[in-house]
């Protein structure tokens, strides 16, 4: 068995752009759920909108900042539209509406009638929208090898994407850390713990929930862009399962904690990579096909989610007293 290859795969996965993208999405979800107690089951919708907003405008030749703004604006608008009908309702309604809305985004995006804009179900190919981002890279052309890891400097799945992605994650962590300690963050926690008490203090709960929904959605949009940059925008790969992985990541690391989302994302993807690479090495192709091994991995993720929620809802870093999963 080739242990060094398995190890390389696993460590490479720990700092892959996808891991960073999921960490960012989970940080967004942490603002929704961990801080404010909102059951957003449509984080993938925010991500897909962000990816579309960025890719469509970048393909049309807009500068990087304009594409970024479009992506963020699309997600903010989506959050507002979702929040208006649901934030006054019970939590499980928000869950159903967000999951439905994310599905609407995907169904509309992949529709053949929109092929001219979104590329239909084939999505938007990478070479079209990556240029403006790659042009910002100071690393130049060529490939660089550091240890066993060799990636292109600036193109697609590059060192540059990795650097930008993890800097964004660090920035997001810093912001969330500041916010949780701010008066504003304490109001959000109040919304999570007891809305009625906050109302009686004269706070506009609805407005705070809306701010949290939109803000978390913005992180979702950034995550969607990072997710799309090394590959292409593919609506069907950003459906409901993606939301569920983000949830697993958040609950694994620990909701309502600052580092939980990052820890969860790194753990989930490295463990998944370890299990699938390991199985690939020891199980012959005739017994389990490669895609069957991938499926086993996802079964494992589902099981993890179930067991976590039942036995350790606060996750690895969380404090059980601080967070009990509950809808308002």
């Amino acid at each position: 068995m080739d242990w060094s290859r398995i190890l390389t795969n696993v460590v490479g996965e720990a700092f892959a752009p996808t891991t960073a993208a999921y960490a960012l999405a989970a940080i967004g979800l942490n603002i929704h759920f961990g801080l404010t107690g909102l059951l957003n089951m449509g984080q993938a919708g925010f991500m897909l909108l962000g990816a579309y907003g960025f890719a469509i405008t970048a393909t049309a030749g807009w500068p990087l900042w304009a594409s970024l703004l479009t992506a963020l604006a699309a997600a903010a608008l989506f959050g507002l539209i979702l929040g208006v009908p649901t934030l006054k309702l019970r939590g499980d309604y928000l869950a159903i509406v967000t999951i439905a809305a994310a599905e609407i985004v995907r169904l509309v995006g992949r529709s053949t009638s929109l092929t001219w804009l979104t590329g239909g179900n084939a999505g938007i190919a990478g070479d079209g929208f990556k240029e403006s981002f790659q042009a910002t890279s100071p690393l130049g052309d060529g490939r660089t090898q550091i240890g066993p890891f060799e990636y292109s400097n600036s193109l697609s799945n590059s060192w540059w994407v990795r650097i930008v992605a993890w800097v964004l994650v660090a920035l997001a962590l810093y912001l969330v850390w500041r916010w949780t300690r701010s008066p504003w963050g304490r109001v959000l926690k109040g919304v999570r713990e007891d809305e009625d008490a906050l109302r009686s203090l004269g706070k506009n709960v609805y407005s705070y929930k809306m701010q949290a929904l939109v803000l978390g959605g913005l992180f979702g949009a950034l995550a969607g862009i990072i997710y799309a940059l090394p590959r292409a925008v593919q609506p069907d790969s950003m459906g409901r399962p993606m939301t569920f992985y983000v949830w697993t990541i958040l609950l694994l690391g620990g909701a309502a904690t600052v580092f939980g989302p990052v820890l969860g994302s790194i753990l989930l993807w490295t463990i998944l990579m370890f299990v699938t690479s390991f199985l690939r090495e020891i199980v012959p192709d005739t017994v389990l096909r490669t895609e069957q091994i991938a499926m086993l991995g996802w079964v494992l993720v589902g099981l993890t989610l179930m067991l976590l929620v039942i036995f350790r809802p606060q996750g690895i870093l969380g404090d059980k007293k601080e967070l009990s999963i509950n809808a308002h």
């Binding site: 059951l39 869950a95 439905a100 169904l107």
Partner: protein, 462 residues
């Protein structure tokens, strides 16, 4: 922390029974008019008197399915695009007889693959309504010659399935889609009654309910295609096994979670995990392709302005009879009344001597059985099933249940029929691959104006 939700329920049962019966009669009347799931967009194209099909499978030189290859089909004023699925197959439905040019986009072929015969791209295929033609594009090193490729097999004389084209008047199209929608709605109702009853009795939004629907369909597939049973015994076994799975699930998981006093939101996330486990297990064992329970093409019957397949006709009747049975059970039997009592107020029901846990176990069993039946019938309606069929319609079921009023069994019926109608009829005005989006949009609008649903009791929710 704990919320033993007094679920939203309807005040007057008699009114609702009456409404149910009326809905049932309307449905029956409409079914007699007939329907045919014309080229159900989710499944592979099935030829009917009103459409023809062009299909094919693209495989790499090594024989693996080529996934995600886009094709354009052009002719008779139609331009269609499609992409090969996980098993390399593609199919499109055309609404007129004639010649169609099928073009493969070579850019989308898997890396390193080329067309073996680049000159035969585009390829012209003649299709007649009611028939299916294949257009094959073998991959490999360009050989110059046509080689042994299966090529297109246009044999315009082969018209055994050709039937007189239906009058393409707009009235008949509306009627056709309305009837399709009604049948789809009835089948959806079968699948969602369990979801609604479960929410009513326990307050749990079960995201794994779609997998119960898939389970029924896949078990029926195993019965007919792997074991070789005839359809009816296979379906009955599938329903029994589905019901048993509901019983086992409650006894094995949910009963314990309720005893551990795990909140409903937590349980809801557990159902999401379970749904992932089940979906990927199905895919693990049965692959990502489409599974057909019945291989034979549906037999079309024309009644009035619309065309029904015999299958849909029978499915609709089965759905109506079953739903009337459920309504009878809930209103006229002792256990049914106990179920409604638990729905209304579990604590009070328990205090008056009703075994709440026993009732919940029954709801799980009944709901899972109905979902399995719904799954078999929906798979027949779509002509095939797949590992994610239940996941695809789960949101439609939630939309139906919310629309009708969360937790009301009759609401689930009314909501399902509306969602079925909207999903099928919206394809008259919006592209058919967006029709589910239309149905989900309705869900959001209903929450905006009437969050308690059509039949739900107005109460403060939030």
């Amino acid at each position: 922390m704990q919320r033993t939700a007094p679920p939203v329920r309807t005040p007057s049962l008699l009114t609702h029974l009456r409404r149910t019966l009326v809905a049932g009669l309307v449905a029956l009347a409409a079914i007699l008019v007939g329907s045919l799931p014309a080229g159900a967009a989710e499944g592979p194209c099935v030829a009917s008197p009103s459409n023809g099909c062009i299909t094919g499978t693209i495989r790499t030189a090594a024989g693996d399915p080529a996934v995600g290859v886009s094709l354009t089909i052009e002719g008779e004023g139609e331009v269609l695009t499609t992409v090969t699925g996980d098993d390399g197959t593609w199919s499109v439905s055309v609404s007129q007889s004639g010649d169609f040019a099928v073009t493969v986009d070579p850019e989308t072929l898997p890396e390193g693959e080329t067309l073996r015969d680049p000159d035969a791209n585009p390829r012209t295929v003649s299709v007649a309504l009611g028939s299916t033609r294949a257009a094959l594009f073998p991959l490999g090193t360009p050989s110059g010659g046509t080689g042994t490729d299966g090529s297109a097999s246009p044999s315009p004389t082969d018209s055994e399935l050709e039937a007189p084209a239906t009058p393409a008047g707009s009235t008949s199209k509306v009627a056709q889609q309305a009837v399709n929608g009604l049948i789809f709605g009835l089948l959806l109702a079968l699948a969602s009654v369990g979801l609604s009853l479960l929410y009513g009795t326990t307050g749990l939004s079960n995201f794994a309910h779609g997998e119960q629907v898939t389970l029924g369909a896949i078990l029926a597939y195993v019965g007919t295609q792997i074991i070789g049973l005839p359809l009816i015994p296979a379906a009955i076994l599938a329903i029994l096994a589905g019901a048993a799975s509901g019983w086992v699930q409650d006894a094995g998981i949910w009963h314990h979670l309720r005893r551990r006093r795990i909140g409903n939101t937590q349980q809801m996330i557990v159902t999401i995990g379970l749904s992932m486990v089940l979906q990927y297990s199905y895919q693990f064992f049965f692959g990502g392709g489409r599974l057909r329970i019945v291989i034979a093409n549906p037999v079309p019957v024309q009644i009035g302005p619309v065309i029904v397949s015999e299958q849909s006709l029978i499915s609709g009747v089965i759905a109506v009879i079953t739903l009337i049975g459920v309504a009878y059970f809930l209103t006229a039997t002792r256990t049914g009344r106990a179920t409604r009592a638990v729905s209304d107020n579990a604590a009070l029901a328990s205090a008056s001597g009703i075994g709440v846990e026993r009732i919940i176990r029954l709801v799980w069993t009944l709901g899972a059985g109905l979902a399995a039946l719904g799954g078999v019938l929906i798979a027949l309606y779509f002509n095939s099933t797949s590992w994610n069929m239940g996941g695809t319609i789960l949101l439609l079921m939630f939309a139906a249940v919310t629309l009708g009023g969360l937790g009301t069994a009759y609401g689930a019926l009314a909501g399902s029929i509306i969602i079925g109608l909207v999903a099928e009829m919206s394809s008259l005005v919006i592209p058919s691959d967006m029709r589910y989006a239309g149905a989900l949009l309705i869900l959001i609008f209903v929450l905006l104006v009437r969050p308690q649903g059509i039949l739900g009791r107005a109460e403060r929710i939030g």
